[in-house]
């Protein structure tokens, strides 16, 4: 029976009773409790089920290393799965539920897996589900998906808010135990700007539980005196409930502050992500106790010895009434002494070592506690709860001797320094065989920009577990210099208990409690040839649970090294990756959600579009009207209406999002000749030319119309999405390759509003505004003129993307809305309409114009698209020219652009492939083309498409078969891509 003691508990306030709910049951705890201590105080040891065998799971630890006590917390939009009860502060009306069981925690069908455990060993999934093939899709995968995963997320949007904070520190101390506090003090005394983080709500770490005194003072007094001093310093920032999540390059660190998890309803961010740049980082992250591997070490009631005394001292909670302690070191005797002092029964201390003669064992003996050396636990008795342990000789095979009745087992396999943060950015470890632990190797610390170490470990995190040596180590970490060597730990490594246990026992020794990985699984992995610890980890799933192996990894790799006959340091550890413990997705996102997820770019006419039925479509960070919906109108109908209105009259489209880059200087023409595949230097001022831009790989990356403004100024239009990318591309070549050329570029995309006026009545509309001669004589196709229309300054470019008579009017952004309104007003008699991007897309497809991103995908060269006319043969060089001479680029079998028309007039599916009857060596259907653009054409009242087809231009009139999603095919004829006005008479009038 776990229960609340009548007195004691240094962290709880017995005057404050807090009601909470666990699995629908109303329970009571005290202020200062964690959810775990409150559950134990209510005799709720069973808190969950393991992942694979659904074995009953009890609380094992008292801190963030807890593998079992994972619960769903909260309700509705504030529900969160997989929260550790040991690090959840109790608050009034907390609601928690256990996970991974059906139908209930106490009775779970999935526990039948445990009976099958012989067949569910390491690599089970890989070996079992391969044959027969169809079983995977229809049987195995649905079954696994049903049973996989711990907890279920809520489907509602997160109701809380989160924030990021940025800070700088000369010294960042991670960990607020006595080593961290001392390191912070030493650093602060030198005048450094210090920040110190403590993951829990309490400063001082384990000292108040473990140590009789710190520098002659009661630990709590030393802690409060040090905190008092630190808080008075202007150069020190202390954050509790802040976990050091990760250490990164050049002193960058992430801290995860849980601001209001324990204060629900407070108007503050729930979590805060600290993004700190530190000159030096001191990891004072303490140590985590290791379990011992004996049969039945996973039965609820078996706990870490340190955790048992934590619950007694900190929370006044006893995990059991009669406890057996099992150990290979002196430290666990502290638990025996603590339990004894609290009036609890210690049935025995089972010590695997032949002798235990240190101070702590002697003190335990002097208190009358039975100490049995050279002994081991053969197996734990009990299912849902410990009822006793069978004792055996540690050196033997586990032949059971005496049975000791007990309701709790406190185990200690020694302590492992928390080296995660040291290791995140490249810090290396050394194996200390005497102390049986990996500790940071100061000779191979993470290094900063100057090549010097920027991380130092202090205290238990450095393998210096306690006492004056620990404080000296912390001072040395903060001030530099060497610390005196610590007292050697009194420990004998024990990786399997008993040492010669047979297969039956080894199959009941848990290494990873959450993922159900046992000693036998790791040994099997070794037998099957898994040499690398990283491979063995993934094969067995050891350390892949939410606790990431904080408890079991060292034990597991020791078992692996033993099975391989290799020393532990040769096997090594798996990689430590951030975050140290899981952090919320909300904290990572911070404020970046909803409207502020990314900036919204608005053209000067944005609000007009919104007021006139714009059906928005995202285009990069812009929004563009896909079409303008009239009341009751369907999207397709709106698009068709807009197209027919343009083809029959005149329409306006907001083209402000098109990229506009000015290229200027004496060498600008020469530069543009390198950027574009065709000549731009010989373009006459006042003229426009369509140009293609390729990467050095030869692939088409952008297209657009270039206008020559004056003798040394060109204006390059790019695609909407390409403006920033192409400007960067230009700057790369200008700054890094042709830096002696006298050229400047400026991205003026947002400085100009641009409106395309398209349709046979476009000229009538501009003439109605008046002020600029837009006749074909004064302003012929592919030229431009500057002036004013309706008094508004602008440039009119005679370019067309629709195939109709068209002017693109560019005016300073501040005039954009006025110009748009003037066009709408003046065009009423002409029936002017605004049209959206889909009408633009369809009209360009009817014309056979390519679209970057549709006809191109990063593997297409201009030659594939029938754009050879836009590639200069005279130029010695342009970006991409040499690549386009490579054998694969000149291969006549490359797929080339054609138009496609279905025989039945239907619309081809997007991205459909042209299939043949042939099969390749893998049995896959051989394809000979694919659809790049497809739509319904209102102009022709049928489906039209473009696509890339093998030998396409030579196969006009042939019929191909294209696949459809439903498995059928549809026939389409190869035609010219340009269906509408192939002679171009309509745009050049």
């Amino acid at each position: 029976m776990s229960h609340r003691l009548p007195s004691g508990g240094r962290l709880i306030d017995r005057a404050t009773t807090l009601g909470f709910t666990f699995n629908g049951r109303r329970l009571k705890g005290y202020g200062g409790d964690t959810l775990a201590s409150a559950l134990l105080g209510n005799d709720r040891m069973l808190v969950g089920r393991s992942f694979k065998y659904h074995r009953p799971r009890g609380i094992v630890a008292s801190g963030p290393e807890e593998p079992n006590a994972l619960v769903g917390l909260g309700q509705g939009a504030r529900f969160e799965p997989n929260q550790r009860a040991t690090t959840t502060d109790l608050f009034a009306d907390l609601v928690a539920q256990s996970q991974n069981h059906w139908p209930s925690l106490d009775f779970d069908i999935g526990a039948l897996n445990g009976l099958m455990s012989r067949f569910l060993s390491a690599g089970f999934y890989y070996k079992t589900f391969i044959h027969p093939r169809a079983f995977w899709k229809h049987l195995f995968e649905p079954t696994i998906r049903h049973s996989a995963g711990l907890g279920r997320p809520t489907s509602e949007p997160d109701a809380d808010r989160y924030e990021h904070l940025y800070a700088f520190a000369d010294v960042l101390v991670i960990g607020g135990g006595i080593a961290g506090l001392q390191a912070a003090r030493t650093a602060a005394e030198s005048g450094a700007r210090v920040m110190i983080w403590e993951q829990s709500a309490h400063w001082g770490g384990r000292a108040p539980v473990d140590d009789p005194d710190v520098e002659g003072m009661p630990p709590d007094d030393w802690i409060s005196a040090t905190l008092h001093w630190l808080r008075a310093q202007p150069n020190v920032t202390l954050r509790s409930r802040t976990m050091g999540a990760g250490v990164y390059d050049h002193g960058y660190a992430l801290g995860y502050e849980r601001v209001t998890d324990h204060l629900p309803g407070l108007d503050a961010p729930r979590h805060r992500l600290w993004r700190v740049r530190a000159g030096r980082i001191i990891t004072a992250t303490g140590a985590i106790e290791r379990p011992l591997s004996f049969a039945g070490n996973d039965v609820p009631g078996v706990m870490l010895a340190g955790a048992v005394r934590d619950y007694v001292v900190n929370f006044g909670v006893a995990p059991g009434r009669r406890t057996v302690i099992v150990t290979n070191n002196d430290d666990a005797y502290r638990t025996a002494i603590t339990l004894h002092s609290a009036g609890l029964e210690v049935a025995a201390v089972i010590d695997a070592r032949a002798r235990a003669t240190g101070d702590l064992p002697q003190r335990a003996r002097s208190l009358g506690i039975r100490v049995m050396t050279g002994r081991a636990i053969a197996r734990v008795r009990g299912g849902g709860r410990v009822t006793g342990v069978d004792i055996c000789q540690h050196t033997g095979t586990g032949a059971a001797g005496a049975l000791i009745a007990c309701d709790a087992v406190a185990m200690s396999g020694g302590w492992s320094p928390v080296v995660h943060l040291w290791s995140h950015c490249g810090g290396k470890l050394i194996w200390d065989a005497g102390a049986a632990l990996f500790r940071p190797d100061p000779a191979r610390a993470p290094t900063g920009a100057d090549g010097a170490a920027f991380v130092a470990a202090a205290g238990a995190a450095n393998g210096v577990m306690r006492g004056a040596a620990l404080l000296a180590d912390a001072r040395a970490a903060a001030a530099g210099g060497d610390a005196p060597a610590p007292e050697p730990e009194a420990i004998t490594p024990v990786w399997i208990m008993p040492a010669a246990a047979g297969p039956g026992l080894r199959a009941k020794m848990w290494l990873d409690f959450q993922n159900d990985v046992k000693v036998s699984d790791v040994q099997q992995a070794a037998r099957e040839g898994y040499v690398s610890v990283e491979h063995a980890k993934r094969y067995t799933t050891l350390g892949m649970a939410t606790d990431q192996g904080k408890l079991g990894n060292i034990n597991g790799l020791a078992v692996l090294s033993d099975a391989q006959g290799a020393p532990i340091p040769d096997v090594g550890t798996t990689t430590f990756r951030p975050p140290y413990t899981p952090i919320s997705m909300g904290a990572i996102a911070g404020e970046a959600r909803g409207d502020v997820f990314q900036p919204l770019r608005r053209t000067p006419m944005h609000d007009w579009h919104a007021a006139h039925g714009a059906d928005w479509e995202p285009a990069g960070q812009w929004r563009r009207p896909y079409c303008y919906l009239r009341p009751g109108e369907a999207r397709n109908d709106a698009v068709a209406r807009e197209i027919l209105a343009v083809r029959g009259g005149v329409g306006l489209i907001d083209a402000s999002t098109l990229g506009k880059i000015i290229v200027k200087g004496p060498d600008a023409g020469r530069f543009l000749d390198m950027l574009y595949t065709n000549m731009m230097s010989n373009l006459a001022p006042g003229k426009c030319r369509y140009g293609l831009m390729c990467s050095e790989n030869g692939f088409l990356i952008d297209d657009g119309v270039v206008a020559r403004i004056d003798e040394d100024t060109w204006l390059c239009h790019t695609t909407t999405g390409g403006a920033d990318r192409i400007h960067a591309h230009m700057e790369d070549w200008l700054q890094c390759e042709w830096f002696d050329w006298r050229v400047y570029t400026a991205n003026v995309t947002e400085q100009f509003a641009q409106i395309a006026v398209a349709g046979p009545k476009a000229r009538d509309l501009l003439q109605a505004l008046g002020g600029l001669d837009v006749s074909s004589g004064a302003l012929p196709f592919m030229s431009w003129a500057g002036g004013r229309l309706a008094g508004i300054p602008l440039r009119a470019y005679r370019i067309s993307f629709s195939g109709e008579l068209s002017y693109e009017l560019a005016t300073p952004a501040g005039h954009g809305l006025a110009l748009w309104r003037a066009l709408v007003d003046a065009g009423q008699d002409l029936g002017v309409i605004a049209y959206g991007t889909e009408a633009m897309h369809v009209m360009r497809a009817e014309k056979g114009f390519i679209m970057i991103g549709d006809e191109t995908d990063g593997t297409v060269i201009p030659q594939d698209l029938g754009l050879g006319w836009a590639i200069s043969r005279k130029k010695a060089d342009y970006i991409g020219k040499r690549a386009q001479e490579r054998a694969h680029m000149t291969d006549p079998d490359r797929w080339k652009l054609v138009g496609l028309q279905t025989l039945d007039g239907s619309v081809l599916p997007e991205g459909a492939y042209a299939v043949t009857d042939a099969r390749n060596a893998n049995g896959q259907v051989v394809t000979e083309g694919r659809v790049t653009s497809t739509c319904h054409s209102p102009t022709f009242d049928r489906g039209i498409a473009m696509g890339l087809v093998r030998h396409g231009p030579d196969r006009m009139g042939e019929v191909l078969r294209f696949n459809r999603v439903d498995g059928t095919t549809v026939e389409a004829r190869i035609v010219d891509p340009c269906l509408y006005d192939p002679k171009g008479g309509r745009q050049d009038v």
């Binding site: 050049h250 740049r277 920009a449 700057e731 040499r882 001479e885």
Partner: protein, 112 residues
């Protein structure tokens, strides 16, 4: 998250301000080059565990490209220098040699 000092504006720039541009000191080969030369120019890149020369752009700062010499294994930065440099400045080469006596200078890295 590296910190690199932009040699153009002098800012100690956080990596979030920077855009990476791959290996530095690659000679462009255009029309007239052999397939082998062009392949080497376009595709062959060193991927050393150790001293490396890289292109970076101070994209969310002054906008200038620059070059950096750093160690990919220890993250040590030996120096940054202008993108217009066809050779590595002596001071940076000396620093590399002082810190990495075993370093063998690749042929394409020219001393100033």
């Amino acid at each position: 998250m590296l910190i690199l000092t932009c040699p153009c504006c002098g800012i100690k720039a956080d990596e979030t301000e920077l855009a990476p541009g791959g290996e530095a000191h690659i000679k462009r080969h255009g029309p007239g080059s052999s397939d082998a030369e062009f392949e080497a120019y376009l595709f062959t890149r060193a991927n050393p565990r150790g001293v490396h020369f890289e292109r970076w752009r101070h994209a969310y700062g002054c906008g200038k490209w620059f070059l950096a010499a750093r160690a990919t294994d220890t993250l040590e930065v030996f120096g940054t220098y202008p993108a217009t440099s066809t050779a590595v400045p002596d001071a940076i080469l000396s620093r590399i040699r002082a810190r990495r006596p075993d370093w063998i200078k690749p042929d394409r890295i020219k001393p100033a």
